[in-house]
């Protein structure tokens, strides 16, 4: 039986320590106890090695600070002035520890080598600034450590600058513990390495930071509290995984939260509460570490005017941001002492200063962070407290809600200051939106409704309304801000999930947006929002789809197909149709409104639409024809609506059947429901006698039905009929023009021809022969000459861009109309 050596004993003691405290309660004091146990082991091993002279054992790094975490390395420095003695101590020390599965980081150096290592590597320097003699020749250890400390003290501002640079490198690489959802608790900004930096800075000034006037007592206490909490969390992660990992991945958060003692609340689940606490503590660390560095570096310029009230606090920070300066300690002290009531009563000067901060981009965002850390931002924006440090759980976001909002505003400010030369949509949007204040506020508030109680968009719009009203923002800007918050998902959701070739969808988007300026605002917000979400959110994939949507909606505005007025008119008309159909079941009315294209409601009188609703309510049989005729807009004209199952050529058959029955078509509009029922509306008059009797309508229905069934040839009958009537005396030339710039979805073909019986039949059956769909026909007759416009699409529902097909259409129409 072998007697357990010191290393095995340490292993047992650490296991006992692990069991002595709940997994989530291994804080600062437990870490100190752990370091003490390691000390005892090292001393025992050293004494077992014969405690040779000329050697000192120094604890460095976390172990040196007595912050030894469960799975962290044991960092050891062997200082010597006798290389052989050092080598034997190293063997006697390291092998037992390694055998007991400890990871020991070690360095073997003379005091002179210590100074050289410190000069060469900042990491080695700071590790030795944490140094603490554990065993061996104390004077040797002191000699080595004193030299390292003296090097830092000889130029404290220079040392602080190196700490600042290193912190920036770490922040760029590991991000921040103050808002990232999977923070690196050790290396992340606001993490344990930043806590440790306070100790290094204190070594550099040769005194405790609070005693030395660098930190106020409150700041020092905040950092201490944060350290204890972050050690608890990181120790919890290590104990759960058994590894020295510092990254708190999402998977571990529920377990760590439970162990640390968080419980689910209605608007904040336990893992979110854990993360929120980490963010709050890390913000304290970030802020205090930054203050300490800047106060020691001491190159911040004092403000040109001291902050005293709500406006001048913001103005002084804006001034610093615009000059690219860090706020001086004296400025921050004055900001903290300023009279800022809770909540702030906004005035013009406060608003102007706040917007200056938003406009200042990156530097302005840093100042918002400062306001947040000092605890003032919530006084200016009471709604901020509910999103402050709030984690977002989805596959895209990496930051808290508040950090995301600040970043989005920053990105938008950058876009306003310097647009993306490769994005013409962005450039046009910036030119259109002349309300940059509203844009920045909209970006800052777009997710303000994410307070943990579902449906954030609607709630966000209400909170944004309250917020801008409290700020005293004028009506047009305030309306745009609320609109941006309420509709910030419209473009990305529609573009990525809906069919962008659906005309009604685009008309709906255009109606909701209303103006090019609002469209531009939503585009800029969508881009800034995606940029702020994570590096992968504004992908070419997403950008292409969103740009396609914006371009199509913009063209709808350009053509006047939809806009604020038309949107209001459309809403008004559908509302009136609903009123007129009060006697019908609501579900049927909803169905009708959804079934019909938007263009139908814009083109149709509500009273007629209500009649149509009744006419097409019952399912339409395959060969069924329904008609209804009422008095037309002029005397002796009729408006007749024809309902039948849609099929290629239907419009031409209706036109032919009307011609056969002696009915002249003055105008025609063809609509198709989303379930394939044609509803075609004609303004007609009797060709020979003013009155069109019911008998004649009946005959028309019969002719049309027999044509649909295929039992008669309309073509032969119309030709027969035509033979009895003379051709026009002065044959006018046939003119045919095609336009592809009038409509987003249809090619417009304009046909001018001398009037004759069955002319519309001839034109539309030519289209049917070529598998073209007529979506709208405008027919006008002047003095024996007809000028008709047809909105047509090809068999796949597209505009006709193929020049061969356009030539074929032209030739076919001429052949038929000139015969």
């Amino acid at each position: 039986m072998t007697v357990a050596g010191p290393a095995e004993t340490l292993r047992d003691e650490l296991s006992a320590l692990e069991r002595a405290y709940a997994l989530g309660h291994h804080g600062r004091s437990v870490a100190e106890r752990r370091a003490d146990l390691v000390d005892a082991c090292i001393r025992a091993l050293f004494s077992d090695a014969g405690a040779p002279e000329g050697v000192a054992l120094v604890a460095t790094g976390g172990y040196g600070r007595r912050a030894q975490l469960p799975a962290s390395d044991v960092d050891l420095l062997i200082v010597h002035d006798d290389e052989r003695a050092a080598a034997s101590v190293a063997d006697a020390l390291l092998y037992p520890l390694w055998d007991a599965a400890f990871v020991v980081g070690h360095a073997v150096r003379t005091p002179e080598a210590c100074r050289a290592a410190a000069a060469e590597h900042l990491d080695a320097w700071t590790a030795m600034l944490d140094g603490r003699p554990v065993a061996g020749d104390a004077s040797l250890a002191d000699r080595a450590l004193a030299a390292v400390r003296a090097a830092a003290r000889s130029d404290a501002p220079g040392f602080a600058r190196r700490i600042r640079e290193a912190a920036k490198v770490r922040r760029d690489r590991y991000g921040s513990c103050a808002h990232l959802l999977e923070p690196d608790l050790k290396e992340g900004s606001g993490g344990l390495r930043d806590v440790a930096s306070l100790g290094w800075l204190s070594a550099a000034i040769g005194a405790d930071l609070a005693m030395g006037g660098v930190l106020r007592a409150r700041e020092r206490e905040a950092a201490d509290a944060a350290e204890d909490f972050l050690i608890r969390v990181r120790s919890g992660v290590q104990l759960l995984t058994g590894k020295r990992d510092a990254r708190l991945i999402a998977e571990l958060q529920p377990d760590v939260a439970r162990e640390v003692g968080f419980v689910d609340e209605p608007d904040l689940p336990a893992p979110d509460a854990l993360m929120r606490a980490i963010f709050l503590y890390a913000r304290d660390v970030e802020h205090v570490a930054w203050l300490a560095v800047e106060r020691i570096v001491g190159d911040a310029t004092p403000p040109s005017y001291p902050p005293r009230d709500t406006a001048s606090v913001l103005a002084s920070l804006a001034e610093a941001a615009e000059a690219g300066r860090v706020p001086s300690p004296s400025l921050l002290d004055a900001v903290e002492a300023a009279d800022v009531p809770e909540p702030v009563r906004w005035d013009g000067a406060t608003r102007v200063a706040f917007l200056r901060l938003l406009r200042a981009g990156d530097a302005g965002a840093a100042m918002l962070d400062v306001l947040d850390r000092i605890g003032l931002l919530g006084r200016y924006l009471p709604a901020w407290s509910a999103v402050r440090c709030r984690p977002q759980r989805d596959p895209y976001h990496r930051s808290t809600v508040d950090a995301h909002l600040v970043t989005t505003a920053r990105r938008l400010a950058e876009m306003l200051a310097q647009g993306d030369p490769d994005d013409p949509v962005e450039a046009a949007a910036i030119a259109d939106v002349d309300r940059s204040d509203a844009l920045l506020l909209g970006a800052l508030l777009h997710d303000i409704g994410k307070v943990g109680v579902g449906g954030h968009v609607e709630l966000g719009a209400a909170i944004a309304r309250e917020t801008v009203e409290a700020m005293g923002v004028g009506a047009p800007d305030a309306d745009l801000v609320v609109f941006m918050v309420a509709e910030h998902l419209l473009l990305p959701d529609t573009a990525t999930r809906r069919d962008l070739s659906d005309e009604d969808l685009l008309l709906d988007v255009a109606a909701r947006v209303g103006t090019p300026a609002r469209l531009g605002a939503l585009y800029l917000l969508a881009k800034a929002d995606a940029d702020a979400t994570g590096p992968a959110a504004w992908t070419p994939w997403r950008a292409t789809l969103i740009r396609e949507l914006v371009a199509k909606v913009q063209r709808i505005f350009d053509r006047g197909q939809m806009g604020e007025e038309l949107a209001a008119q459309l809403a008004d008309r559908t509302e009136r149709v609903r009123e007129l159909l009060r006697d019908q079941p609501e579900r049927d009315v909803d169905r009708f409104v959804l079934r019909m294209p938007r263009g139908y409601f814009l083109a149709t009188d509500p009273a007629r639409a209500a009649d149509h609703a009744r006419l097409i309510a019952a399912p339409v049989g395959a060969n069924e024809v329904r008609t209804a005729a009422v008095a037309g807009s002029r005397t002796e004209t009729y408006e007749v609506v024809v309902v039948a199952a849609d099929r290629p050529g239907l419009l031409s058959w209706i036109a032919g059947a009307l011609a056969l029955e002696g009915v002249s078509i003055l105008s025609a509009q063809a609509f198709t429901t989303d379930d394939g029922v044609a509803l075609d509306v004609f303004e007609v008059e009797g060709a020979f006698e003013p009155e069109i009797t019911e008998r004649r309508w009946r005959a028309f229905r019969a002719t049309l039905r027999r044509t649909i069934e295929g039992s008669i040839s309309l073509e032969r009958r119309v030709d027969d009929k035509r033979r009895y009537y003379a051709a026009p005396r002065l044959p006018a030339p046939v003119t045919i023009r095609d336009h592809n710039d009038v409509s987003e979805f249809s090619t417009v073909i304009e046909v001018g021809a001398p009037d004759r019986i069955g002319l519309l039949f001839d034109i539309t059956r030519t289209f049917a022969d070529l598998h073209l769909d007529v979506h709208l026909a405008k027919v006008a007759t002047f003095d024996g000459r007809v000028v008709d416009s047809f909105y047509v699409r090809d068999g796949l529902g597209r505009k006709i861009v193929d020049t061969d097909l356009l030539a074929e259409i032209d030739a076919s129409l001429r052949a038929r109309l000139e015969s």
Binding site: P424, A428, R497, R498, L500, T539, T544, E548, L796
Partner: protein
């Protein structure tokens, strides 16, 4: 075992997912992809300014299935993704040598079930 790969329009993906769920497909992988086929990339003009759209955004769906299930899955995807317009996408089936469920080490059809 077969790998069914489909490239579909982004707005059809929910329907494809629903159709596959309906016939009991337990899992699939989707990726946002860009490319071109007959529906080429093109130059867009936005209010006078030109910009190039080199690739058309699509979604790629991948499912590894047992041989007997291939026909039903191909039908379901094709039906759900079809709009009848250009750019509805493509679908292909390829052989799969080996499948492992990483967590359990189950191989072959065992790794697909459930």
């Amino acid at each position: 075992m077969k790998l069914v790969t489909a490239i579909v329009k982004p707005h059809r993906i929910d329907d494809v997912k629903d159709a596959l769920r309906e016939i009991g497909v337990g899992g699939l992988t989707t990726t946002d992809v860009e490319g071109f086929g007959r529906q080429r990339g093109h130059t867009e003009v936005y209010r006078g300014a030109e910009y190039q759209v080199d690739f058309v955004p699509k979604v790629k769906v991948e499912i590894v299935v047992e041989d007997d299930d291939v026909d039903g899955i191909v039908d379901a995807i094709a039906k759900a993704a079809r709009t009848g317009k250009i750019g509805d996408g493509k679908l292909w089936v390829s052989d799969v040598d080996r499948v492992m469920r990483i967590r359990t080490g189950e191989m072959g059809p065992d790794a697909l079930s459930g």
